[in-house]
């Protein structure tokens, strides 16, 4: 019989906890969410020995068990709830050798919970270079547990770590210091009132504002001689506890760790001098952003064209191979173009996540936060808002979640509200295809491509709108708040390729499957709506068209086209489209674009797929979607539908409108009310309509 144990991986941010997880588990990890909240849950099952398996859970990074955010709550809720199915048999605290002092605070807290706790000290390969020496066996004695030196970068020490985990039952569960000494009388009365509970757990329940299954905070009231303390007294005690813990840690490390100070400094100071310089710092940041966007534009067009053509070929292939009929039509005209519309994103998304994760891994992002805080505060946000605003260029969903790190509620709310203005990757295919149609592929001064410049301007527009509306929102929102900002400035590190690679794979995968489901569903619905009609006109299209035309002057092909577009016009989608046409004509669009826009409210990237589906139902010719769009004519003005004016109008509409159900849902979850997502939906989309209208009327 093989047995399975639960392991929880805990640690401070920036200790390389995720690389330790990656090294322990390889690619067989599962990424999901904790039930009811959008905190990412990473887990995996590995084999430790012939009859021992381990379920490893990578918990969110936290500095202590005093939770200040949703992510940190997850850690404490799990560690305090014995009934949780993931409740650990053993905890591995990951720390890093250079920040051991700070990392040990969390370790001592967890050790006080009476759980078997292993200390894994990461980045041990840097010890020599940094002149650090550590007396591991004395440290084990002081901390009353097993200590493992590991290096995720060099993949060293993991066999020993796995051995320690396997032997977890030998570990002592005694605390290494007792927090109750900070107020003996208070803790003794608490123990007397609740004799069955673990004392340190009770204390955490009192100090935290979270739910712990049965032991509810409010249930700990005065009884059996226990007298609760006021909030400010409790805060005092928490401070005292922290001081007490640091005293213990400082004493322990004095005995066990020596550092050659001359070697410890170096790289950080010289790189900092450049990267947070009052002029060069900003120049470098802008240059990096520019480089990223140029690269994404340059590198992704080739694979994108390739994907576009491959799906077209696949569609043709299905049409030729399968017998004619509904199923074949559904696959070749509905499903394949729909899936193609999402797969085409993969190159850009992967590249964006690649760059963002490199920026985070190297430690550069914290410097940007430091540089931008004063400026961002003028716009009602925090320096930390830069992270959501930059990752918003990939996708607003992780960006809204990244705003959790912002400590003050008002700054966080403003950030969440404005993030959807940043140019997310779902807008990119819309932009690319329209820019390709209406902006000339020529070079300005022989160097800069006009199409590239337009794209750059659109990114800039998104960013400027985000910042500007941040300023507006902070003026309008009446929320009292305490400014509060603590950012760790981690050491500069070369990114670990494996980590970057895993992040890119995982984020791209979850994006493709998450968005893919919606897009697939919508393309099937659209296909059905476009392939059937409410009246006889649809079914009798052939005879009606032939009767109205002078058949002799047209080729068979032209007649077929006429029949198809008559059918489309009389399909369900045709009726719906013509119903909304009056609203979109002043913006320079036709009813097909109108339908694509409506469908885009599920997710923007549906735009291209929708047009692809509509056009391929209408026209069986082997053409890429771009050439089909170029051939469309304007229903009112005549001439090509996609002109400079209507193109710009469409670009502006997509730049400003709030067209993403998933983002609205995530904002609802993060803010706890529908009020804010509704303000985004109607405010942003209304603004988009007006701007697109003005743009088209001026330019036409």
């Amino acid at each position: 019989m093989s047995k399975q144990i639960n392991i929880a991986l805990v640690g401070n941010p920036n200790t390389g906890k995720t690389s330790v997880f990656n090294n322990l588990t390889g690619l067989n990890q599962k990424v999901g969410n904790y039930p009811g909240i959008t905190v990412e849950k990473k887990e995996a099952v590995i084999k430790l020995s012939r009859n021992l398996k381990a379920h490893i859970l990578d918990l969110p990074g936290t500095y202590s068990l005093n939770a200040t955010s949703l992510d940190e709550n997850v850690v404490i809720e799990l560690l305090l709830n014995k009934n949780d199915k993931d409740y650990p048999d053993v905890v591995v605290v990951v720390s890093d050798i250079e920040n051991l002092k700070r990392n040990l605070l969390l370790f001592t807290q967890i050790k006080d919970l009476g759980l078997p706790t292993i200390l894994a000290i990461n980045m041990a390969d840097r010890m020599d270079r940094k002149g650090i020496q550590l007396d591991v066996s004395l440290l084990e004695k002081r901390l009353k547990t097993k200590v493992n030196l590991i290096s995720a970068r060099k993949n060293k020490g993991f066999t020993e770590l796995k051995q320690s985990i396997t032997d977890y039952q030998k570990l002592s569960t005694n605390p290494c210091l007792e927090a109750s000494k900070i107020d003996r009388q208070y803790f003794e009365s608490l123990k007397k009132a609740y004799p069955k509970q673990d004392l340190y757990k009770l204390w955490l329940v009192i100090t935290q504002d979270v739910n712990f299954g049965k032991t509810n905070r409010n249930k700990i009231t005065s009884q059996n001689g226990f007298k609760p303390k006021s909030d400010s007294e409790i805060k005092r005690l928490q401070q005292k506890e922290t001081i007490k813990r640091y005293q213990f840690i400082n004493e322990t490390l004095k005995e066990t760790l020596t550092k050659d100070l001359a070697l410890a400094k170096g790289l950080r100071a010289s790189i900092d001098r450049l990267l947070i310089h009052k002029v060069w710092g900003y120049v470098i940041f802008l240059a990096i952003l520019f480089l990223i966007f140029q690269t994404i534009y340059d590198w992704s067009t080739y694979p994108m064209d390739f994907i576009d053509e491959s799906f077209l070929a696949l569609s043709e292939y299905v049409k030729n191979v399968f017998p004619l009929g509904m199923l074949s039509d559904l696959i070749s005209e509905g499903i394949i173009p729909g899936i193609g519309g999402i797969v085409i994103f993969v190159p850009q998304i992967a590249l964006l996540f690649l760059f963002i994760s490199i920026l985070e891994e190297t430690g550069y992002m914290s410097r940007v936060v430091f540089l931008m805080d004063r400026i961002m505060r003028k716009f009602g946000m925090s320096g930390k808002s830069i992270v959501p605003l930059v990752s918003g260029t990939a996708c607003a969903i992780p960006a809204v979640m990244a705003a959790r790190n912002i400590e003050s509620w008002k700054e966080r709310l403003v950030t969440i509200l404005v993030v959807p203005f940043t140019t997310c990757s779902a807008r990119l295919p819309v932009y690319l295809i329209i820019i390709g149609l209406v902006i000339p592929d020529e070079r300005w001064l022989g160097v800069f491509n006009y199409q590239g410049i337009t794209l750059m301007l659109l990114y800039l527009l998104g960013f400027v709108t985000a910042i500007g509306s941040g300023w507006l929102a902070s003026k309008m929102l009446k929320i009292e708040f305490k400014s509060y900002f603590v950012v760790e400035m981690p050491d500069y590190k070369m990114p670990i390729f494996k980590n970057v690679f895993y992040t890119v794979i995982e984020k791209t995968k979850s994006f493709v499957f998450g968005a893919g489901k919606i897009i697939l569903a919508i393309s099937i619905i659209l296909w059905v709506l476009a392939s059937y009609g409410p009246t006889d006109d649809f079914d009798n299209a052939e005879s009606i068209v032939t009767a109205s035309l002078d058949v002799t002057e047209l080729t068979q092909e032209e007649i077929n086209t006429e029949i198809s577009s008559y059918k489309l016009k009389n399909s369900y989608i045709g009726y719906a489209g013509r119903a909304i046409e009056p609203a979109v004509i002043p913006l320079g669009y036709d009813w097909k674009i109108g339908i694509a826009i409506i469908a885009s409210f599920a997710a923007r990237e549906v735009f291209v797929g929708t047009l692809a589906t509509i056009y391929s139902v209408e026209n069986d010719d082997e053409q890429t979607i771009k050439s089909r769009m170029a051939a469309e004519t304007n229903p009112v003005l005549g001439g090509p539908l996609f002109t400079f004016a209507s193109g710009i109008s469409l670009l502006l509409f997509y730049a400003f409108a709030m067209q993403c159900m998933s983002t609205l849902a995530i904002v609802r979850r993060e803010t706890g009310t529908w009020k804010w997502p509704m303000i985004q939906l109607f405010g942003m989309s209304g603004f988009a309509y007006v701007v697109a209208l003005i743009a088209f009327q001026i330019l036409k």
Binding site: Y63, R102, D373, R374, F485, V487, M489
Partner: protein, 77 residues
């Protein structure tokens, strides 16, 4: 009374009293505690926030928080 906000670039000090209720607990957890060393590494453009080395941890805080933390200067050797 001197506070972290009155430090000059490169100056070191020892953290004194921290009585204000507005000092976030997180800062204490990062090692900002009475008796520990603090050094001002750099000030961001526009004079805010401050980049500090506290008890061997590098972090940055805003000037208004820094004003709440009293210090005693270590005289130059």
């Amino acid at each position: 009374m001197l506070t972290i906000a009155s430090l000059k670039k490169g100056q070191k000090a020892i953290i004194g009293e921290m009585t204000s209720q507005d000092i976030p607990l997180k800062l204490l957890e990062m090692g900002c505690l009475p008796g520990n060393h603090v050094e001002l590494i750099q000030v961001a453009p526009f004079k805010d926030p401050l980049y500090l080395n506290i008890n061997d941890t590098f972090l940055s805080i805003r000037r208004e928080t820094a004003k709440l933390i009293h210090i005693e200067l270590i005289p130059d050797e």
